[in-house]
Amino acid sequence: MAEKFSELTYKQRLEALCKTKMQQTKEKQEVLLVMDQDDHGRILPPPELREITEYMGPSGEMVRDAKLNNFKPKSNHPSGGFFGAKVCGENFNLFLKDHPVYVNPMSSLAGGYMAYFMGYRDPSWPPELASNLEDEQRKYGIYPGIGATQHFCQDMTIGFKLGWGGLLRKIRRYRKLNPEKSDFYDGLEQVVLGVQDWIRRHVDAALDMARKEKNPTLRRNLEEMAEINEWLVSKPPRTFREACQWTVWYQMIARMYNGSGSMGQIDVWLKPYYERESAAGTLTDEEAIFHLACLLLNDTQYYQLGGPGAEGKDTTNKLSFLVLEAVHRLKAPANIGIRVFNGLNPELLRRGVEIMFEDKTGFPKFLGDMGLVEGFMKNGYSAQLARQRVYSGCHWFAIPGREYTLNDCVKINFAKVFEVAFWDMMNDSEIRPSVDELWRRFEMHLCRAVEVTKEGLDFHMKHMHKVFPELVLDLLCYGTIEKGLDASNGGVEYYNLCIDGSGLATVADSFAAVEQRVEKEGLLTWSQLAEHLKNDFKDAENVRLMLSSVPRYGRGGTRADYWAVRIVKAFTRFVKERPTPAGFNVIPGLFSWASMISMGQTVGATPNGRHAYAPISHGASPDPGFLRGGSAPTAMAVAVASVQCGYGNTAPLQLDMDPGLARGEEGLAKVEALIKGHFELGGTMINMNIVDKKQILEAHQDPSKYPNLIVRVTGFSAYFASLSRNLRQLVVDRILSEET
């Protein structure tokens, strides 16, 4: 009992917080079964408030969600849904009112979020607003992004300057100037009032807990927490801890409102607070690390560390290292990237690589500044602006507060386009099939797929603000409040909409296979090939192996490598040759997120020997097993660098490496050389896992054995045990293939 009344160190408190986090994760794994996405810092609602719902997840397995059963949104539409700024704001306000408070006395920051507002939007799109594009979108396996939310980045410094009270005043001031936009301002206002009320309830809870708390450290902590939040209800943050707490409120409502996890340069916007207090002697590094850890435990937002400022000077500072250290101590999933460029403080990169190998949690990621900046400038932007486009999501970048992007929401399934082209050719009795003809038709259909996607983007841009505007992100953008326009509706300065291609290796290897086996060697006729594809290689394993044993994309110097580059060039050309019909700039990239499984489920057998409905290849990655006889991080690094679209959006390199690779100083330097080398070749992003093969196999058999094992699935990292079996299998295949 004596301990109960003694002071606690930050270390003890962090250990307690990590323990709680593990319990919460375990509970999530038990209740929600699978989570094929970021772990998120989300906490389950208390059992009496839980309503379990099921829906189809991205990997084709049913996933569950727990909703708050005490909140019922009001509808303003015959469909039963709710659409438009005012009612969305009002409903979110009510949602926050019904949302429980969460105060962990060990944490320096109040708050925890328990549910997603998006789950109550049913239907999420007004049925009368149908586009006539759906047939073609389905035909080409397009994820059109219509109705997609967030996936761009606000500027946190706006919030730090104004606080919630200042934001409210700003909304009310501009409401007077734009009276015709009252619906939009009503929505924004409701969000701010909702969060203020929510914060206030935490003040009360903290005070109440403080009165009952016996431990002096925790009592003091709760009292401080109450005082800080009393201030933050309306005033801007003054201290480092207050800035962290403000960030927590913002990130929680952003996440709950529509899933946003984009944050940007934490080591830039928290720096003034850190430096001021650090210089004044009122903030030790230990305390700063603790606050950062509490912030990072609250949610797994996307942050960039280091990298050039607008004028090209490195932004790395002491705080960059403290953020790394905070995650290092937590060993929880985190999505933080180090932006590597020639001027980067080499110690930051070194520390990042060290932690990557020591913790083996897929943290941090590495971002290739040169390819990003030079690429983005090709869209007609200045170097200054390109450098300010910062890491803020799975595989993507955005200019904070000034750019709307739909990043990671819009994808074209190359494998599906290939399938359409193949059968289009085979069913044409007028012509003789050939690789040239197949390519011609592939190009034609790819071109059409890109056009359909662009038309879909226009459709989204035309209607989204009337359906579900970005009421949380709008608060911290330049121009949205001022003009009374949602970010999806002309509120911000720049519009660069994303179109990603998926399944590159599947198609490149397929072209190489038909070229060699059918055309060059004549081992198979076109119609025999077609029959085998139709029958999914039934009783023809030898034919399947004959096709799949053609040298693959990734090996370097093969025909498949040639086809991969050719496909990407064509794709890039179609995306870039003109903006959308309404005039929005579009930027190509290669990425499939975790959708390789669901995308594969629509595609029959392919000539690379892939079985019908099996997953397609991941983003720009070579297919697992592309290089028989050795693990080949450098071959992968060269291959993925060769297929960059080159306009500032990414085609990430996914590497799963053995822990033994970075032994000692020399090993670390080699891994750094690999990272820098890939970026020197024009690479844009590296997601790395350090995996013990034996451990991952055991965890796949029995996930409960390794509840803490974290892997970087694609752009995001997650607890391995939380993933669906399908997605776990893909991760395992990728890792094991390096052995055979």
């Binding site: 370097g556 060269v638 690999l674 080398g677 020197e680």
Partner: protein, 252 residues
């Protein structure tokens, strides 16, 4: 090489082989290695990868092409090209031509060799080399001969001669249980090389069994089947013993 567990009994090899080296039934595949002339025809039709031809002929330019694909990583890491083996000395003409080309391009070059050759052969390569990694397996000539089939005289002579050049030199000792894994044996090697002015370090390479499956696939007897992989602790102890001579020692 033949990996029976990959075979799907398609019978392609049967048709491809001019020497009737394959007997394939519905669920059995016997490879008559003595009939195989290594023409490689069967491997071209073996899509399951059960039959693999080891080695292929390449020109210097073809090798250089592959090498250059990774050039950026050499630039970033200060790394380069290492000729390894077997022993590159065995194909010294090719090695010489390849190294020459590497140097023309400005690549850092290294060689891994047992140096069991005439000094002139090795000396011919030296001008194009930045680093030499050579094995010394045992100081005792008799024991060396028993294990490797040759005396170590030429090797030790070559090591001495190498020590008089200005080339960076790494001496490596594969630690084989029962052959050279005692303190005194390792110490003797350390004593021998400690005066080498160009020695970077002595490296102890622990015995491993990574070659076993390849031996099996080649139908060769794996002589080291009964050898036990030394513990890290043991290697550490040997390394400390070698270190007493005052030279830098690394473990791998």
């Amino acid at each position: 090489m033949f990996y029976p567990d990959r075979c799907i009994y398609c019978g392609n090899c049967l048709l491809a082989c001019p020497n009737k080296a394959h007997v394939v039934n519905e669920d059995d595949h016997i490879f008559l290695r003595e009939k195989c002339k290594a023409c490689g025809k069967c491997t071209q039709t073996c899509y399951s990868g059960a039959l693999v031809l080891v080695g292929r002929e390449m020109t210097v330019d073809e090798v250089i092409n592959e090498v250059l694909r990774d050039k950026v990583f050499y630039d970033m890491s200060g790394g380069g090209v290492t000729l390894s083996g077997g022993d590159p000395i065995v194909q010294c003409g090719f090695s010489q031509a390849l190294l020459k080309k590497c140097k023309e391009i400005g690549l850092h070059t290294a060689i891994e060799t047992a140096a069991n050759c005439q000094w002139e052969t090795l000396a011919a390569l030296l001008p194009m080399l930045d680093l030499v990694m050579m094995d010394i397996k045992h100081i005792d000539s008799e024991k060396h001969k028993n294990a490797t089939g040759v005396s170590n005289k030429v090797i030790l002579d070559n090591a001495m001669k190498l020590s008089r050049t200005k080339k960076r030199l790494i001496i490596r000792v594969p630690i084989i249980p029962g052959f050279n894994d005692t303190k005194s044996e390792v110490e003797a090697i350390a004593e021998f090389v400690k005066k080498f002015p160009n020695l970077e370090y002595l490296e102890l390479l622990s015995f491993h069994r990574l070659g076993e499956s390849k031996y099996k696939a080649l139908g060769l007897e794996y002589a080291a089947t009964n050898l036990v992989i030394p513990t890290k602790k043991k290697i550490k102890k040997l390394s400390e013993a070698a270190g007493k001579s005052g030279i830098k020692v690394r473990e791998n």
